[in-house]
Structure formats: C-alpha cells, structure tokens
Amino acid sequence: MLVDVRIKRFRPEQDAQPRWAAYRVEAEPTDRVLDALNTVKWRHDGSLAFRRSCAHGICGSDAMMINGRNRLACKVLIRDLRPPIVIEPMRGFPVAKDLIVDMDGFFAKYRSVKPYLITEEPAPQAERPQSPEQRERFEDTTKCILCGACTTSCPSFWANREYLGPAAIVQAHRFLFDSRDHGAAERLPVLNERSGVWRCRTIFNCTEACPRGINVTKAIGEVKKLLLRQSVK
C-alpha cells in the first residue's frame, strides 16, 4: 500500500528554519516506521538524516516524535498509526539535521548522577551475594536504553532545560536501589538540587513515552521518597 509520510526537515547548511516535506511511500501494514524512513532515504531522497541501528527497540537510536508522541521508529508499526504519518525530531534538544538532535546535554545530565556502582567494600573472590528479591528491587530501571523519549516528552523539561529529566533520574534509581551500591551520599545531593527530582510534577508523560515500558514516574517518586526519608533522619 501507499502511505503518506510528512517529515519535519532541517538542513543546517541551507535552511534558516525547519520545513515540512511530504513523501508517498510503498509500505506493508506490518512495516515499522523505520522501514518507511528507509524507503524515503533509499528511494526518494538520500539526504534525509536520522539515527538508527538495531531496528528492534534495543539500541535507542531512533527515538523521535511520531504522530505527536515520542516513540522509537523501529518499534511502531504502520498499521497502528492513523495516516498521514507525521514525524518530527524529539522536542527540547537542539536539532542538528532533520531528525537528528544534539544529545550532548542529555548525556551530561546522565553522567552527573554518577551512573556507576559505588562501593568501598573490597571485591570478594566470587560474586557479591544478592538475593532474587534484592535484584528485583531495581529490575525495572535496568531496562533504560537512554533513547531520550521520556525526557523530551516532559513539560517540566520543556519549561526548564536545566532540569535533570526523567532519564537521568531513572539511571540514578537503578543504583540507589541496588543492594550492592553505597553511593547514595554522593548521588542524592545532585538529585536534591533545584534542577533535580523536585521539578517533576508527576505528569506521567515519561511513563507513557518509554519504549521499554519502565514505570518512570514511579521510579522518580521512589527517589523523592528516599530524599524525604534522608532529610527526616
């Protein structure tokens, strides 16, 4: 079948403003939106720029706004969308070219929460023990692929670009609730700053946007609770 695709394009070397481009592409209902983007690139206009790699929702390269919602282009099928398919870059990051955004700020915030295991205990010969229940405690937030869909769907982030954003908080959660980690004292002050978790207004856009099904709002809530408990102590 033929599908109408409208893409917000921006060529940094030529365009002062983004412009809309329309394509009519051959596609199967079971094709991914990524397949339609590839058809545009391979058959209509090779200059269309977007990131992609694994094409099945694991690498996190192709988060973009599709029919008004943030999704991975490789994880949404044409048959599940009402035509025309309208594709824009994620909102809130500088656009580098077409659907490619500059994610440097996003990753800087990720790094700021110290997203690595912090422990003073010397490593044993074998593994550090952890019960299945302790392991389960942070299972949900280990799934994050750093695609940016949550952060760029967050009105609090749109309003204030200093906000850490849901993705960085999810990454902090992954360690704060890991029984092997002792880095809370280093990590929590970052999360407690003006630009930290308190900017979250529990809007749930992040949870809806997450292509990995992470309950992002719940994770942020748990980090907030942890901070409150710490301040009571």
Binding site: K41, D98, P132, F175
Partner: protein, 578 residues
C-alpha cells in the same frame, strides 16, 4: 574539494565501543592516553542486543568445569578452533564474569544469592553427556547489561570518547601501525588519530545478508580497512546463521528460549530435532539446527508448506516467559502480534555471526600473512579471529570472547604502548580517505548504493548462506564482481558535510561488498563441509585436506588464499554427533 582535517595524538586508540572496545578501553586507559572512536554513541553498540547470556563454568547450580566448556567450544566449532586460545578463554571466562559482577552487572540470582545460570545450545557436562546450566544471564538482556555496565565504568574512569566518528582507514608504516583516519559525522571533517597502538573492535558484518539479526551499522568497517591495507582475513567462509530469527525480519529470538524448554516444530507439529540430534535435541549447536530447519522447509514441512517453522513456548509456565524472556516476548507481540504464552512464534534462520575476521594471537595482537605480529595493531571481538569459535560459534561464547579478549588486548596494549614511540606519519596520511570521500560525492555514475546493497544481500542470501554449492557460489561471485564495478559509479546525492548519513551508508556498502567478496572466494575454495560452511557438493568434513584455517589477502586487485595450521592440544578431531 578536500575536507577540513583535524589532527590528534594519543598513545592508544580503540575503534568501536561495544563490549570488546570498552573492555579494552578500561584496561588501556590505566597506563595510556586513550581515545575511543565509535561510529555510534557507545550505548547504541550491538553488544546491547545480545540476549541469552555469557558462558562460564561457575558451577553455581550444578557441577561444571572449564575443561567441559573448552571441549564443547572445540567440538561446537567442528575442531577448527585453536585450542590454546579456547583453553585461555574458558579459564578466563570465570574470572571476567565475576569481574563484571563486581563492576555492578545485575545478573539474575539463585535463591542463595549467586549468579543464576541456564542451559544453552551445545553446552554440556562431562564432555557431551547432557546439557549443563552454564549461561550466566540477566533476563534476556545480558548484552544490554554488559554494555551499560562497561560504559558506566568508562564514565567513572573518565575515558575519552569520539562518538559518531566513522572509521575510514588504518595507517600502516613499515609493517607497523601508526594510527587511524575517521570521518566526524557531525561536521564532515576528517580526523587523523596519530597513535602508538590501535585496537580494532568494530564488530561483525551481517549486513551483507538480506535476513539478519545484525544492526544496520554492522558492516565490518574494521575488517575492511585492514584488508584494503593488505593484511589478511581469516576463515571468512564461516558465517553463522542463528536458527531462530523472527520470520522475515530476522530479529533474534534467543537460544535461551530453547534453554528454558522451548521446542522447534514443523508444519506437522513434529519436534523434528529428534531426528537430527537425538541427545541435545533443540539445544544442538546453531549450525546443525539451522541446517535441519532448511531441510524441513525444503522437504515441504514448513508451516503451511512455507519457508518458516514454529518456536513453541506455549507449554512453558507463563511466569518463566515473563521473568526470564521478557524482551523476546515483547518483540513477538510488537512485530508479529503473537502472544508467546498461547501461540507459537514463526521463525527462520537469520544471518548472525562472523566466525572469521582479522587474525590475532591470544593476546589480541594482529597477525600478518606469515603469522608475524603487526606491532601496535590489535583486534578483539567479532571483527577478530583468534580463533576460538572455529567453524561455528556456540551461543554465549561471543560475550565471553568480547570481554576476555577485549580485556587481554587492552592489557597487552597497556604494557606495550608506554615504552613505544609514535611512528612518524606519512606527509598526508588522510589522502586515501579524502579521495574515497570525494569520489563518492562527485561521481556522476548514476548508480544507487541502496540498489546495489539490495542485490548484494539477495545474492548472498541465495547462494552463500546455510547450504552452498560450487555453481551457486560461482554465480554469487560473478554478481559480486559486477556489483563492485557498479559501486565505482555510486553517486551520493547529499553534498552536505554535516551528518551526511547517505555518504556513510555508501561507505558501509563498500565494506560489505569487499567482505562478501572475500567470504565467497573462501567458500568456493573450501571443498568440504565443516561447521557453518556446508557444501552440498562436498557434504563431509575432510580433515586430511581441510583441517586448516584460510587466509584471504587482497593483492593487486585480486584475492589470494593461503592456509594456516590449526592448533590442537587436548582434543583430537572426532566425528561431531549430538
């Protein structure tokens, strides 16, 4: 017009930021000024898609030993693996798994709090008696956890990254490595990295096939640049097809699904593996299962007579699927609308893994055609051929390979580079890269890279996949030769410097064309069947004539083949029965 050039000087440059590259970077950066150059943002690397687990004889849930792991790896590889390297890998596997856990990797746990382990294809106890639980896993996203954990450690250690830089060339001077040249995708500038040591960890090249589990970006850039510089590629004829790719899409369904009890069925509902591997059944090595599937389909026993079969998980406890295989359950729901609790999954073999690649010793040092070390050049992971996988890799051993040899290469480099000098660079080290870029953007030949790629992928799928014949391979070779000529007339429409992904795709096509060429030439020469290389016209393994590695070298525009002996220590070749 030549592009702007930016120059850098580092002690060590690691190319690629998957498991092997990051592991190497962690080691190298302990003693050396190190840069990681990657065409993707590191967490986008393909290691992240590995699902089922990493094999190590921890013995956490039942007795196990690294010698059994070694035997399984050697037998799984149809006796082509170099056994000194396999021995090293299987011993080190235990140590690196604990090391990953210490770095924070969230493995699934046993009730006692140890790393949990599960069954996987070809992994057995007591030298082949029965399946063993050896695969250490984190749900069905073990690779994702490895990649995340290693990248987290790189952040902690403040490793320097050049993200979204595409490798264009490796610089060799008097048989030594002097650095690399890369394209900065964001700006279009050419960057020259002058280095004492370079470690290539650029991954595989499944994108030469139409149906593949591999990411769009897996185009063998590292293998290609060394091949074009006259260094050999080893065992290129051995390319693994994973039995369970999602029908038509090729997306991987982990072997862990069969490890947890999943069964392959044909159109009559039969568990057909009973006829092909009576002991290990569905957990036989991948080459054997993929061949069995092709035969079932060819004999009309596909589902409704079509070219796919069923992976049946419906008899499993739903909570096993939800807890241990959540991602693949999500994939089949998303892409097929199939509920794995209640419906079987349509699958077909999918191009998955290159056993061949850049020859190295077990220190990850690159070897030339005569087996001499190329000083300053290292390779690890799928782009390398140590060879630990021989003619067919066992499941979980790719993750073992990347962490063991990424680490080993990084350590070796960290010892060597501080005492070494920077070789003087040639006057214009970037000239070859500049010419290639300007050719693609100023051509008026009217050929489309996408069209050539389609034709290549179809030819490789039809003639250079699970079953091969002389006639078919010759047909593929003729097609590839023609496609390479046409590639010389590709014109990239996008003339922009910034994020020119059309140009990048054209560069990648050049790589897969060269590697498909080497694969087909090597496959045509090997007149026997061994592991993943199955010649219908030579159906038996022929140890008398072919128990040897192949080396393919590009010389004066043609590929010449030579042989390299196999290292055999503990396990003499035997018939391979499961």
């Amino acid at each position: 017009m030549p592009r702007p050039v930016v120059r850098h000087q580092y002690d060590a440059v690691i190319v690629g930021a998957g498991g092997a590259g990051l592991m190497a970077a962690l080691e190298a950066s302990k003693t050396c000024k190190t840069a990681v150059v990657s065409k993707l943002y590191p967490t986008r690397s393909h290691t992240g898609t590995a699902q089922g687990g990493i094999g190590a004889a921890l013995g956490n849930v039942e007795p196990d030993s690294w010698e059994w792991h070694m035997f399984d790896t050697v037998k799984g590889g149809d006796y082509l693996a170099d056994q000194d390297a396999v021995e090293f890998m299987c011993q080190e596997a235990i140590r690196v798994v604990y090391e990953l856990e210490h770095m924070g990797l969230p493995f699934n746990r046993t009730p006692e709090g140890k790393i949990d382990q599960r069954r996987f294809g070809g992994h057995t106890k007591e030298f082949g008696k029965a399946p063993v639980r050896r695969s250490c896993y984190a749900a069905d996203r073990t690779g994702h956890m490895i990649l995340q954990t290693l990248y987290q450690q790189c952040i902690k250690q403040a490793v320097s990254f050049f993200d979204e830089f595409h490798l264009l060339d490796v610089l060799l001077q008097d048989g030594r490595c002097a650095g690399v040249v890369a394209l900065c995708l964001a700006t279009g500038e050419v960057h020259v990295f002058h280095a004492k040591a370079v470690l290539l960890a650029t991954g595989g090249f499944g994108r030469m096939y139409k149906v593949t589990s591999n990411a769009h970006t897996l185009t063998g850039d590292g293998c290609t640049v060394v091949f074009r510089r006259g260094l050999p590629l080893e065992d290129m004829e051995f390319f693994q097809f994973h039995p369970t790719g999602i029908y038509k899409l090729g997306i991987l369904i982990t072997e862990g699904a069969r490890g947890e009890g999943g069964i392959l069925r044909n159109g009559r509902g039969e568990r057909f593996m009973e006829r092909y591997a009576p002991t290990l059944l569905d957990l036989a090595p991948r080459d054997m299962v993929s061949r069995a599937m092709y035969l079932e389909i060819r004999e009309g026993r596909g589902i409704e007579g079509k070219d796919y079969l069923h992976l049946d998980l419906t008899h499993l406890d739903p909570s096993v699927i939800d807890r241990k295989l959540p991602d693949i359950a999500d994939f089949v729901r998303t892409y097929l609308g199939v509920d794995p609790h209640r419906q079987p999954i349509p699958v077909q073999p999918t191009a998955h893994y290159a056993m061949g690649g850049i020859p190295t010793n077990l220190h990850a040092e690159v070897l030339d055609e005569r087996g001499q070390v190329v000083p300053g050049l290292y390779a690890a992971g799928e782009c390398a051929c140590v060879s630990v996988h021989g003619a067919n890799r066992l499941g979980t051993n790719s993750l073992v390979d990347i962490v063991v040899f990424g680490r080993r290469g990084g350590q070796r480099l960290a010892q060597w580079a501080p005492a070494a000098d920077h070789l003087p660079l040639p006057k214009e080290p970037e000239v070859m890269a500049q010419e290639a870029l300007s050719r693609l953007t100023t051509n008026l030949g009217g050929e489309s890279a996408a069209q050539i790629r389609d034709e290549l992928q179809q030819a490789m799928m039809a003639q250079v996949s699970v079953f091969r014949t002389e006639a078919g391979l010759k047909e593929a070779l003729a097609a590839i030769v023609q496609l390479r000529v046409r590639y010389g007339r590709v014109d990239v429409q996008d003339k922009a410097l910034r994020f020119n992904t059309e140009l990048e795709e054209a560069l990648e096509l050049g790589c897969v064309l060269d590697l498909a060429w080497a694969t087909t030439v090597a496959a045509l020469a090997r007149r026997e069947s061994r592991g993943a290389h199955c010649r219908e016209d030579f159906p038996d393994r022929d140890d008398a004539n072919w128990l040897k590695h192949s080396l393919a070298v590009l010389r004066d525009g043609a590929i010449s083949l030579s042989a390299k002996p196999v290292t055999i220590t503990r396990f003499q070749p035997k018939p391979r029965v499961y």
